[in-house]
Symmetry: C2
């Protein structure tokens, strides 16, 4: 059985919130570990509304230091404190975030009962910034008006699964089992060889979620991705009709987002970060589907997607 | 006709927001001028949801520097900028707010297109901090864990209204009319005296809205109020059953809020800033009504009240 790998959208607007769309924030549940990606204003309120288990969040990833991606952080840090948090909170962010939070801290937080561990995002390509037994998280630079990073959440390939009946039938001793899981054939005491494929099944294909927000069209990120991407979230602030404005502000259009989806072999494309000038977001799907054949979704606050 | 004097609740919870209650913020519409009082996280989102005309806000009053009363400010300042604001924004707040916003400013706001004018709240009793033709706003210190102020929005007594028919009947010349509005009797060229009461009606009684949040029970504020208060908003974080906790944290109970309502001759009492430990807020009304005979309301986000 595959572990849960579920994305919940907490905010889907661009710089200005609307009555239904908060600014950017997402929470990713991988095997009941919760990862917060960006934290626009009202993130903690959305988490309550959508029943996200806030205290389970130990890792926060911040793409860049624009208000619509970070103004929810002070409230979250405050609330964790009020809820009696003791365990560390890890924040992966541009280096200046630490100064920003310290500045707020000086005026507001009297004393935090827990530690914030800052991890500075770095230039120079795709970097592993976090891993556990099942998952790796990578950052990679994109191109916006201020330094900005995308994130890739990649499952690790797990060992092969033993076929219980065969293990019992051949009375395979325990020390051998881990070797077989890792792909070895089994040789018994009499020298008989049992091929690995007879004793195991392959583990599920690792899944991959890629988050890219606030960037101009950047085809060079293709080099960071082999194989396929199960779900790509890509900002599409504009439609092609506002291509000039997109270039000026270093944002992407729906068509450009779809081109990136093609380049990195995405199976599913999520579009968000819409400029408030568009009342009918359906046009984003139309435009993207002229380029990309996979499934395309317009994200709304509260939507969940399986990776 | 009296001008509009309407309060909209944008946030009604205490330090922690809930799925239905944001942290503290209110907007007061007096004669189509909009005054924002405190700005908890998500204030700008609530304003969009409740269709408050944000660009009309030129004056923001901040009671104290706890996160649940100010974490919505950076987003508002940012959004005003994105909406192309050019006119000044006045903020009446504890002196340290300026440093807090400057700190954020250094990391986030590239350049504001408008000026923020800071007005430092002061100790030493009730102070006039703003006035226009129709309204005066006063600050007064209350007693919390950090320096905190309440605000009183008081209509000015307007001149008497001329009775049009009488003015025409007696052919009263224009220069005389303003003197009559201010209460003088009219003397015509032949020396006949027409008593003011025959020529005018009294202007409406000035109304008063008092906002008190985050304070321990503080009966001494009685000295700041003569006559009656049309509407008093008073925090009631706790019930009497948690009186010890209220004292420890320097908050008030529903009963104490009601006692203050009595002391300052309030006609209507609004209770808010509830601790999230209470699921059933109706008990706050019960408790307050054992002490106070006027109307009592539990405020909810989106409620409006006429002053």
């Amino acid at each position: 059985l595959k572990p849960k790998f579920e994305l919940t959208i907490l905010g889907s607007s661009s710089a200005l919130p609307t009555s239904r769309r908060n600014t950017t924030a997402q929470v990713l549940n991988h095997a009941e570990r919760f990862f917060l990606i960006d934290a626009g204003e009202g993130t903690q309120i959305r988490m309550r509304q959508f029943k996200i288990k806030m205290p389970r969040i130990d890792h926060i990833f911040i793409s860049h230091l624009h208000g619509d991606h970070i103004f929810g952080l002070p409230g979250i840090i405050n609330t964790f404190n009020l809820l009696g948090r003791g365990k560390d909170l890890h924040i992966y962010a541009p280096p200046e975030l630490q100064e920003f939070l310290n500045a707020i801290h000086n005026y507001i937080f009297t004393r935090l009962n827990y530690e914030i561990i800052f991890h500075n995002l770095e230039d120079g390509g795709k970097k592993l910034i976090y891993e556990n037994k099942l998952l790796e998280v990578y950052s990679f630079p994109v191109s916006h008006r201020v330094k900005t990073w995308g994130f890739s959440f990649e499952e690790k390939k797990q060992p092969r699964k033993l076929i219980k009946e065969k293990i019992e039938e051949y009375k395979i001793p325990i020390p051998w089992r881990i070797r077989i899981k890792n792909g070895e054939d089994y040789t018994d005491e009499e020298g008989n060889i049992y091929p690995n494929e007879e004793l195991t099944t392959d583990s599920p294909e690792p899944r991959k979620y890629v988050f890219i927000t606030d960037t101009e069209y950047l085809p060079s990120i293709k080099s960071y991705f082999n194989g396929s991407v199960d779900v790509l979230y890509h900002e599409s602030t504009f439609l092609q009709s506002e291509l000039e404005r997109a270039k000026e502000t270093k944002h992407s259009t729906a068509k450009e987002a779809a081109q990136i989806a093609n380049l990195i072999n995405a199976k599913k494309l999520l579009l968000g970060h819409f400029s408030t000038r568009y009342k009918d977001c359906h046009k984003f799907i139309e435009e993207a589907s002229s380029v990309f054949d996979g499934e395309i979704f317009i994200v709304n606050d509260g939507d969940t997607f399986q990776v």
